[in-house]
C-alpha cells in the first residue's frame, strides 16, 4: 500500500487549514460593494398574509431595498420543488403544494420567509427587517403528522387534501403478508417513534449572490453539498438564470449531514436580490434561524408486526409508517421514507414477505428531508428494536434470534427491491460480541447492582444502502436526476496532478483520500496531487456528496479516469523507451519496462505529453482524461453495534459504559478517516437516542427547541471511547470494492442504545430521546 497509498493512515491534508482557522467558508467571502440580507420571517405557524408594509423599513439607515414575494413572482422566479416523483398506491402522483421562496399569500411554519431586507450592514438589515410590518390573519396549526391526517384539522395546501402527500406501498402483497402473519406461531407488535432532529452542522447555511450586469451573469457562493445540482435546479426550476449564466461555488463547507443537499429559499433570494438591488448580497444564518429553517430529519411514527414460525424464523413483516414532511416538500424529501427507508426493511434477515405502507404528511413545521442516514436509520431502528423485543418475548438470546435469521448466501433478493451483493453478518456479530465481552455481562450487571445501578446491554445489526445509485434504476423509481459521478484527472506538464471531482467534501477528507488513490496508482507523493471540487466553473457536471456516495461512486469515477490516463501514459512511455506498451509498469513515480532497468520518470512522461515533440504517431498532445461512472448497484455496508449502559435508577441518567462497532465497509482507502466517520456517526446516533429532539408546541406551532439551551447536542463527556473494528467483504460491484462508511454510525447506534436502556430498566416502553426524565419514569413504571 505504501505510506500514502490505498490503506494508509494518512493524516488529513485539509486539516492544516481547518485547524489553524484558515479555512475559507462562504461567510468569509468578501467582494467589492457587498451588502447584507436579513429575512423577515413568519412568527406564526400558519397564517394568511393580508399585507406587507415596508415603508418604515425602507427609510431606515443603510437600507438599500426591501423585497417581497410578489416581486419575486412578477420576476418569474419559480417554486421550490421536490425532485423525486412518488406515486401513491392508487397510481396518482404525489401532491406537491407550492413553495414560494418568499411567501406572498400564506405562511406555513414559524420561520417561513416573507420578505428580505438588503442593507449596508448585518445590523442595519436586521433592524429594518424588524420594522417591516406584516399583517397576518392567523390560522390554526397542526404539527403532528398523525393528527394532521385526521378529519377537521388545519389544511396546509389546497393540492393535498387531508394533508396527505402520498399513500405508498412496497413489497409483498398486503393480503399475502397478512396471511403469513395470521399463520404465525408468534407475532411481535410495536409502535415505533423516530424522533425529529435538527441537523446542526457547525457552519450555518450562508449564501452570497453576485449579479454582474455587464456580463448578465450570476455567481453564488453557498454552503452546498452539491453545487452542480444547485445550479441545475436553480436554473431549470427557479428560473434564476440559464446554467451558462450561473456559477455556483461551494467553498469550504463546515459540515452538512444532508441539510446542505437541498436548495433553500435564501440562496435563490440572494441571487435575485443582487440583480434587483445591483449589489452583491450576502446572508448568513444564525443558530436560531438554522433551528427554524434547516431541513429537519426523521420524524416517523410507525406500527410494525414481525411474525415468526415455531422455529423462530421470521415469516413476515408488516410496517405502516406516517412520515412528517413539514410545511413544504424539500428537494429529496419524498425519496427518504420510501426508497431510502422501506427498501431496507429486510435488514440482515431473510424475510419471505414484507409489506410496507408509507403516508407522507404536511404539517406546520420546518420541512423534513434527508439527514445522515436518511431513511436507513429509521428502517434499522424499527427492525432492530422489534427483533430485540421479539427475542425477549420468545425467551431466546437476541444474538441467537438474529443468527437464525441472517441472510447467508449472496446475491440475495429481498421482497423490497434491494439485491444484496455481499456480506458476512455473522463475522461482525461475532467480532462485536467478543470485543464487548458479551459473555461477561452477567457478572458486570451483578457488580453494578451492588452499587445500586442498573446495567443493560443491547445490540443492533444494521444494513444500509450506499453509493446511490444506478441512474436507470433510480430513474425508474421516480428520481428526477441520474446519480452517477464524474471525474477529470489532469496531469500537468511537470507531472503534478489535479483531480476534478463532482463529489464535494464538507468534512469527509476527500482532499486526502482521493489523493491517496492517485498516489497509489502512479507512486507519486500525495502532495503533488490536488483535489479540485465545489465550483461549477472549474469542475465538470457532478452530482455531489450524500448517501456515503463519494467513495463508492465518486472514487470509482476517478479510477475510470485514472485508467485512461494510465493507458495513455503507458503508450507515451513505451514510445520513449522503444518498448512494448504491455511491458510498461508505472510505480514509484516512474514508468519502467518490466524485467529491464529502463525507466522514464513520471514527470518526463507528462512533459513529453505536453511538449509533443516525440509522441507516438497520431497521438493527441496532453495528458488529461475525464470519466463518468454510473454504479451498477447500491452498495450494502453492514455491521453489528453493541452498547452497554448503566442507569442511575434514582435520576434516570444513562451512562454509556461501552460502545462497540464492528462494520463491513468493503475495502478501505484510509482507515483513520473511516474511523473518524464512524466516531462522528455514532456520536450523532447517540445524540438521537439519548439527547436530541425537536419540539414544537402542538397548539401554536412555536419551536420550543430553538437554541442549545433547549436542544441537547451530544458533548464529548456524554460519550465513551468507541471500540471500532472492521470485518470487510469487498463490494463486488465497483472497481475499488468500496461500500461506504459515512452514515453507518448514525444508522446502527440508536437501536443498540435503546435496546441496552430498555434491557437495563426492564421496560420496553420508551421513546427517543431517552432523557433522564423518561428513563426514570419508565424504570419506575416497571417496578
Amino acid at each position: 500500500m505504501g505510506v500514502e497509498g490505498i490503506g494508509a493512515r494518512v493524516a488529513r491534508k485539509e486539516d492544516k487549514r481547518f485547524l489553524t482557522g484558515k479555512g475559507r467558508y462562504t461567510d468569509d467571502m468578501v467582494v467589492p460593494g457587498m451588502k447584507y440580507a436579513a429575512f423577515v420571517r413568519s412568527p406564526h405557524a400558519h397564517a394568511k398574509i393580508r399585507g406587507i408594509d415596508s415603508s418604515a423599513a425602507e427609510g431606515m439607515p443603510g437600507v438599500i431595498g426591501v423585497l417581497n414575494g410578489q416581486q419575486m413572482l412578477d420576476d418569474g422566479i419559480g417554486n421550490l420543488i421536490c425532485g423525486w416523483m412518488i406515486h401513491s398506491k392508487d397510481g396518482s402522483p404525489m401532491k406537491m403544494g407550492a413553495w414560494r421562496p418568499l411567501a406572498h399569500e400564506t405562511v406555513r411554519y414559524v420561520g417561513d420567509a416573507v420578505a428580505v431586507v438588503v442593507a449596508d450592514s448585518v445590523g442595519e438589515a436586521r433592524d429594518a427587517a424588524e420594522a417591516v410590518v406584516v399583517d397576518y390573519e392567523e390560522l390554526p396549526a397542526v404539527t403532528d403528522a398523525a393528527t394532521a391526517l385526521r378529519g377537521g384539522q388545519p389544511q396546509l395546501h389546497p393540492e393535498a387534501g387531508g394533508n396527505l402527500i402520498y399513500d405508498w406501498a412496497i413489497g409483498t402483497a398486503e393480503a399475502e403478508t397478512d396471511a403469513a402473519i395470521a399463520a404465525a406461531a408468534h407475532v411481535t407488535e410495536m409502535t415505533i417513534v423516530n424522533n425529529r432532529l435538527a441537523p446542526n452542522p457547525m457552519e450555518p447555511r450562508a449564501a452570497l449572490g453576485i449579479y454582474d450586469v455587464g456580463e448578465d451573469h450570476y455567481t453564488c457562493y453557498t454552503t452546498s453539498q452539491n453545487p452542480h445540482v444547485a445550479r441545475l435546479v436553480m436554473s431549470a426550476f427557479y428560473n434564476v438564470a440559464p446554467e451558462n449564466k450561473l456559477r455556483v461555488i461551494a467553498p469550504d463547507v463546515g459540515g452538512g449531514f444532508g441539510s446542505k443537499i437541498f436548495i433553500y429559499p435564501e440562496e435563490i433570494v440572494c441571487l435575485w436580490a443582487s440583480r434587483r438591488t445591483g449589489v452583491p448580497v450576502k446572508w448568513t444564518s444564525d443558530r436560531t434561524e438554522a433551528f427554524l429553517t434547516d431541513a429537519h430529519g426523521r420524524d416517523h411514527l410507525s406500527t410494525v408486526k414481525m411474525a415468526f414460525d415455531g422455529d423462530n424464523r421470521i415469516t413476515a413483516l408488516k410496517v405502516d409508517t406516517i412520515a412528517n414532511f413539514g410545511a413544504y416538500m424539500s428537494l429529496f424529501s419524498s425519496a427518504v421514507p420510501t426508497y431510502l427507508y422501506a427498501t431496507l426493511l429486510s435488514g440482515q434477515y431473510a424475510i419471505p414477505a414484507i409489506h410496507a405502507n408509507v403516508r407522507a404528511v404536511y404539517t406546520n413545521t420546518a420541512p423534513v428531508d434527508a439527514y445522515r442516514g436518511a431513511g436507513r436509520p429509521e428502517a434499522t431502528y424499527l427492525l432492530e428494536r422489534t427483533i430485540e423485543t421479539a427475542a425477549r418475548e420468545l425467551g431466546v438470546s437476541p444474538a441467537e434470534l438474529r443468527r437464525k435469521n441472517f441472510i447467508r448466501s449472496f446475491p440475495h433478493q429481498t421482497p423490497v427491491i434491494m439485491n444484496y451483493d455481499a456480506g458476512d453478518y455473522e463475522a461482525s456479530l461475532e467480532a462485536a460480541m467478543k470485543e464487548a465481552d458479551w459473555a461477561g455481562f452477567g457478572a458486570r450487571k451483578a457488580q453494578a447492582e451492588g452499587r445500586g445501578m442498573k446495567r443493560g446491554i443491547g445490540m443492533s445489526c444494521y444494513i444500509e444502502a450506499c453509493g446511490i445509485a444506478p441512474s436507470a434504476a433510480v430513474g425508474s423509481l421516480g428520481a428526477g436526476v441520474g446519480l452517477w459521478e464524474s471525474a477529470e484527472v489532469r496531469v500537468n506538464a511537470v507531472g503534478t496532478i489535479e483531480v476534478l471531482t463532482g463529489s464535494h467534501s464538507h468534512g469527509q477528507g476527500h482532499e486526502t483520500t482521493f489523493a491517496q488513490l492517485v498516489a497509489d496508482r502512479f507512486g507519486v507523493p500525495i502532495d503533488s496531487v490536488s483535489i479540485v471540487h465545489g465550483d461549477t466553473d472549474k469542475v465538470q457536471m457532478g452530482m455531489g456528496t450524500y448517501g456515503s456516495r463519494s467513495g463508492a461512486v465518486g472514487m470509482s469515477a476517478i479510477v475510470k479516469a485514472l485508467d485512461k490516463v494510465e493507458a495513455k501514459a503507458k503508450k507515451i512511455a513505451a514510445h520513449l523507451m522503444e518498448a512494448d506498451e504491455s511491458d510498461i509498469v508505472i510505480e514509484n513515480g516512474e514508468a519502467k519496462v518490466a524485467g529491464t532497468d529502463k525507466t522514464v520518470p513520471w514527470f518526463q512522461v507528462a512533459l513529453s505529453a505536453y511538449t509533443a515533440h516525440n509522441l507516438p504517431a497520431g497521438m493527441e498532445p496532453g495528458l488529461k482524461e475525464g470519466a463518468f461512472y454510473d454504479p451498477s448497484n447500491f452498495t450494502f455496508p453492514a455491521g453489528c453495534y453493541i452498547c452497554e449502559v448503566e442507569i442511575d435508577p434514582e435520576t434516570g441518567k444513562t451512562e454509556i459504559v461501552q460502545f462497540v462497532a464492528a462494520d463491513d465497509f468493503g475495502n478501505i482507502i484510509n482507515p483513520m478517516i473511516v474511523e473518524g466517520q464512524v466516531h462522528g456517526g455514532i456520536a450523532q446516533g447517540i445524540g438521537q437516542a439519548l439527547l436530541e429532539g425537536v419540539h414544537y408546541d402542538p397548539q401554536t406551532g412555536q419551536l420550543l427547541t430553538a437554541s442549545y439551551m433547549d436542544y441537547a447536542m451530544p458533548r464529548a463527556d456524554d460519550l465513551p471511547s468507541f471500540k471500532v473494528s472492521h470485518q470487510n467483504t469487498p463490494c463486488p460491484n465497483n472497481p475499488l470494492g468500496i461500500k461506504g462508511c459515512g452514515e453507518a454510525g448514525a444508522i446502527g447506534s440508536p437501536p443498540a442504545l435503546m435496546n441496552a436502556i430498555t434491557d437495563a430498566i426492564g421496560n420496553n416502553d420508551l421513546t427517543m430521546p431517552a432523557t433522564p426524565q423518561k428513563v426514570w419514569a419508565a424504570a419506575h413504571a416497571a417496578q
Binding site: R126, T651, T771, Q773
Partner: protein, 264 residues
Amino acid sequence: MYETNYHRASSVADAVRLKGASEESKYVSGGMTLIPTMKQRLAAPTDLVDLRHVAEMKGITVSGGSVRIGAATTHAEVAQSSDIKAACPALAHLASLIGDPHVRHMGTIGGSIANNDPAADYPSAMLALGATIVTDRREIAADDFFTGLFETALADDEIVVAVTFRPPERAGYCKFPNPASRYAMTGVFVTRGADGVRVGVTGAGADGVFRHAAMEAALAGNFSPQALAGVTTDPSDLLSDIHGSAEYRANLVAVMARRAVAAA
C-alpha cells in the same frame, strides 16, 4: 445585536452615575447572560456600564469569621480559591459546575445572583449559607433578595458589590444538570451551621430558588441522608417543561438533597 454604548466604571459611585446618565442603560459584568440576550435582540440597552474593573467589587477575603466575595469575582476564581476551598468547599465545587471554562472565566457571582435565573446555581448557595448581599446602598439578607423568576430585591440602579457569609460547619451541593443547557435542572445546597440547617433548592421551583422547610426540619435533628426519607416536595410548586415534569423534579429534589447531605 442593537447598537449600544460601552462605559467602563472606575468605582461603584462612578457606575451608578454612568447608569443614571441614560434611561435604557444596564450594568454588565461577565456578560454571559446579558450579551447572548442582546445578540438575540431580546434586550436592547442603549448603554452598558461595565462593573468588572471596579476594585472594590473584586476579590475574596476571609476575616473575622466571615467570607466576602466581591461581586465581580468570576466563577473560576471562586472554584479555584484556596480560601473558599478551606471555608466552604461546597461553594467552590458549585462554581466549578457552572457552564464551561469560557463561562466560568467570564461570568461573575454578582451577575449570577442579580440575574436570578431560576436554574442558576449560586442562588441556592446564597439561601443555604444565609448570605448577605451587600449592595452600594444597603445589606440584604439572601432570604429577602430572591423574589421570583429573574426577580430580586434590587432597585433598578442598585449594584451588588459583594456577598458575605459565615462559613458553615458542613455544606454540600449536588446538581442534576439539564442535558441541553447544563444549568441546574435541580440543584440542592445544604448547610449546617450556627443558625441550624438550611436547604436551598434551585432549578426546580416554579417561583425560582427556595428554601425547603420540611427538609430543614428533618435534618435539624439528624443531619444525614436517611433523615430525608419520606420528606416530599409538592410538585404543584415546581417547574414543568420539556426537560422535566414537576413530578420528576420533585424526585430530583429528594435525590439531590440526599446526595448533598452525604457529600457535606
